[in-house]
């Protein structure tokens, strides 16, 4: 009894010591563990989230002291969530933006100047592998605010199954050919039936129009603001012609399906995948999305070519160069760890993983010219070839509002509540007024 008692007396002490060591060990580990939140709208998309999560997992394996919590967000709610969170002193530590709201985020002091971190990595040498046109827009007042992840060039995607069925051998090269082909492709699949195939669709919801109208406009040599960003360019002959062309396609030629006023890009992709829409303006990331919509889709029946041009203006024609880039929240308590994550994600290996999963063209020049999967992919090679002709949309804080004026007026003209002339005049007046308010 006594021995038993003595043994029983030691056991709790040993247990207590073991528990204390375990607790001490765990406690110190918990103290060393840093958690950062990574916000990205592509985490909310089935196809794109897989390579992103794989890269995050790899990062955590290589950095056991850092836990990354992925935070998905719908693209349309992104700025609402981040803006509200950052104003309240919170928000994700690292997040992704496209080119549109970067100026606003810089203006509001919501993102961190990355120059000191970049200087530690080799400064200009580190940045030299990224496309200069993109880096120019990420550098504001001599400070660099973001590291680009992917670039996107808008191309004309043609559904060759539909084109061949209509007796059209190749995608159009000029806007005149485009119009004629779109008219020819708009028809009923059964004679005398309801029209169920259309030539083309410009989605007029925010998440379709804002990225698809500018490349179309640029390919006409038009713009919405003057080169000094001080005046509206809505009345320029090129912009007027481009706007009228869009309205005519919808109202006179009727080559667009009903409902484009309330469509976003996803709905037009659905129609394209179902052989109901022949032409789309899209970046290469369309391809995996089409495979997601229709797993047995024959990619050989889809061709990507440069946007059409107007005869005599081929040299001036261009498209938009878009990008996704990583930023660090000014409120982040773990900026060093956040930079570590960005540097890791921007590394060639992770960028390659991301490309293989999403077809999102890397922002690293070296990867685009060496990766066999890119060199052997007709969509990617066409995009890489077009990058020098791409131009990033004007980086002014009024740009989203300017696009909205044009979107509302295009929508009004297409829905018949205004003539194209009225819509152009109204958009011009609104843009001019907005830019004059901003003038010092």
């Amino acid at each position: 009894m006594e021995r038993k008692f003595a043994r029983g007396g030691k056991t709790p002490w040993l247990l207590a010591v073991a528990v204390w060591i375990a607790a001490f060990g765990l406690g110190s580990a918990a103290r060393a563990q840093v958690t950062i939140v990574y916000g990205d709208w592509q985490l909310a998309e089935t196809v794109s989230s897989k390579p992103l999560l794989a890269n995050i997992k790899k990062f955590m394996e290589e950095n056991p002291g850092i836990t990354v919590t992925p935070q998905p967000v719908a693209q349309g709610s992104r700025d609402v969530l981040y803006g509200t969170g950052i104003r309240a002193g919170k928000g994700p530590d690292v997040f992704v933006l496209d080119q549109q709201p970067v100026t606003q985020y810089v203006d509001q002091n919501w993102i961190v100047d990355l120059s000191p971190y970049i200087a530690n990595e080799g400064g200009a040498k580190y940045l030299s592998d990224f496309y200069p046109a993109v880096m120019r827009t990420l550098a504001v007042g001599g400070k660099v605010y973001g590291i680009p992840n992917t670039v996107s060039i808008f191309l004309l995607f043609s559904n060759m199954t539909m084109l061949h069925a209509a007796g059209i051998a190749d995608p159009p090269k000029t806007w005149g050919e485009f119009r004629a082909d779109a008219i020819r492709l708009t028809k009923a699949s059964t004679p005398g039936g309801v029209i169920d195939q259309w030539g083309y669709a410009l989605p007029l919801q925010l998440t379709g129009f804002n990225s698809r109208f500018p490349p179309f406009l640029f390919s006409w040599g038009g713009n919405l603001v003057s080169p000094d960003f001080k005046h509206s360019a809505m009345n320029s002959p090129q912009t007027r012609a481009a706007f009228e062309f869009q309205v005519d396609l919808a109202t006179k030629d009727k080559v667009e399906p009903p409902g484009t006023v309330s469509m976003d890009f996803d709905q037009t992709r659905q129609l394209f995948a179902q052989n109901k829409l022949a032409f789309l303006f899209e970046p290469t990331s369309l391809v995996p999305n089409l495979q997601g919509i229709k797993p047995d889709i024959d990619l050989k029946q889809i061709r990507a070519t440069a946007l059409p041009f107007n005869p005599g203006e081929e040299a001036q024609s261009h498209t938009t160069l878009g990008y996704r880039a990583w930023f660090i929240n000014a409120n982040s308590a773990h900026k060093d760890e956040a930079w570590k994550l960005i540097k890791f994600m921007a590394d060639a290996d992770q960028v390659t993983t991301y490309y293989l999963g999403t077809a999102g063209l890397p922002a690293r020049i070296s990867v685009n010219f060496t990766l066999p999967q890119i060199l052997n992919d007709p969509f990617a090679t066409e995009s890489v070839a077009e990058i020098p002709r791409g131009e990033v949309a004007p980086q002014i804080r009024q740009w989203p509002q300017i696009l909205n004026f044009v979107r509302l007026n295009a929508s009004a003209a297409i829905s018949g509540s205004k003539t194209a002339d009225q819509a152009i005049a109204d958009a011009n007046a609104a843009i001019e007024s907005l830019l004059q308010q901003a003038a010092p």
Binding site: P101, L206, V261, P400, N404, A412, I414, S415, S417
Partner: protein
């Protein structure tokens, strides 16, 4: 201890009227009332006062803006901004149409539900169902139904050969506006219907009997008995529904997002765009306060009516 006891006993003996309830009796009725109201008042200050004052300061560029400084520019811009003027007009048209829709539908449904029908409760539950649906969900459901390519309404009309090509219900200004009014009318009429049903049930049966003895037909009973008795409840329903409709957001956001063009852009939608899409926070706050002021003015008849009744 003894001294204290003595003091206490002495006090008891000299002033026998005072008891254990004495301290509360020292408090006046109004102070007691204030104490009871205080928690609710504190809650109101937190949930209403703080955001309201914050929005006021924001609208004059003093709070939650980049470079705080007093400025009335947001209010001056309101006066000149055609988008604001247009949204105000659309809001007015929308409120008039949707409130009229609610009142007419509400009374049309409330009248039969007030009668002694078999399975009356089933009809009452069915009539209430739309009200249980969140506005954003209702907007999405109607959007699916009105979709020109795959929507139920076009499919039905095409199958019945009523139309030969799909109609883009949300693609023209008038049809989009009508779609918004009908879908919100469907979703929110039960609120008005419930109020009117309560009013109908309070009308004494004897009044109808007296009217019938005087030879009044159903229509005359409705005009001369039902409507006069419902007058107060109609005013309350009208005012409360107007306030509710001035604030509509979720349904329009999910159904048309203010389009086509700006055909269905009501003030709350424009305020949202200015704040969250264009980052014009001070301007959005000025817009929101203007809407709040309009709503307050609209609510005055209701306040007057309820206060008069209480008096």
């Amino acid at each position: 201890m003894e001294a204290a006891d003595t003091r206490g006993r002495g006090a008891m003996s000299t002033r026998p009227a005072r008891s254990a309830r004495q301290p509360t009796q020292l408090m006046s009725e109004s102070t007691k009332g204030m104490l009871f109201v205080l928690p609710a008042l504190a809650l109101l200050v937190v949930v209403l006062g703080f955001p309201l004052i914050g929005a006021m300061l924001q609208s004059v560029n003093l709070m939650w803006v980049d470079h705080p400084h007093f400025s009335l520019v947001p209010y001056r811009t309101l006066a000149r901004d055609p988008a604001f003027g247009h949204a105000l007009l659309i809001t007015f048209y929308y409120v008039v149409c949707s409130v009229a829709f609610h009142l007419v539908t509400g009374i049309c449904v409330a009248l039969p539900l007030n009668r002694d029908l078999p399975f009356k409760w089933v009809f009452r539950v069915a009539a209430l169902l739309p009200w249980t649906m969140p506005d954003a969900v209702a907007g999405m459901v109607w959007r699916f139904m009105l979709d020109p390519l795959s929507g139920f309404i076009n499919s039905l009309l095409l199958a019945l050969h009523v139309i030969v090509q799909p109609i883009d219900w949300l693609g023209t200004p008038h049809s989009a506006f009508a779609s918004v009014v009908i879908s919100e009318g469907w979703r929110a009429y039960p609120f008005v219907m419930l109020l009117l049903l309560a009013g109908l049930q309070a009308i004494p049966r004897t009044q109808y009997e007296a009217a019938e003895i005087d030879g009044a037909n159903r229509w005359q009973c409705f005009i001369h008995v039902t409507l006069p008795n419902l007058r107060t409840i109609l005013v309350i329903a009208l005012v409360l529904d107007t306030i509710s409709q001035c604030r509509v957001f979720g349904l329009i956001y999910t159904l048309t997002n203010g389009g086509p063009g700006d055909a269905t852009t009501v003030l709350p939608i424009l305020t949202y765009q200015e704040n969250f899409q264009f980052f014009n926070t001070a301007y959005a706050a000025a817009m929101a306060l203007t809407l709040a002021a309009i709503t307050f003015i609209v609510s005055l008849p209701y306040l007057r009516l309820t206060m008069r009744q209480r008096a």
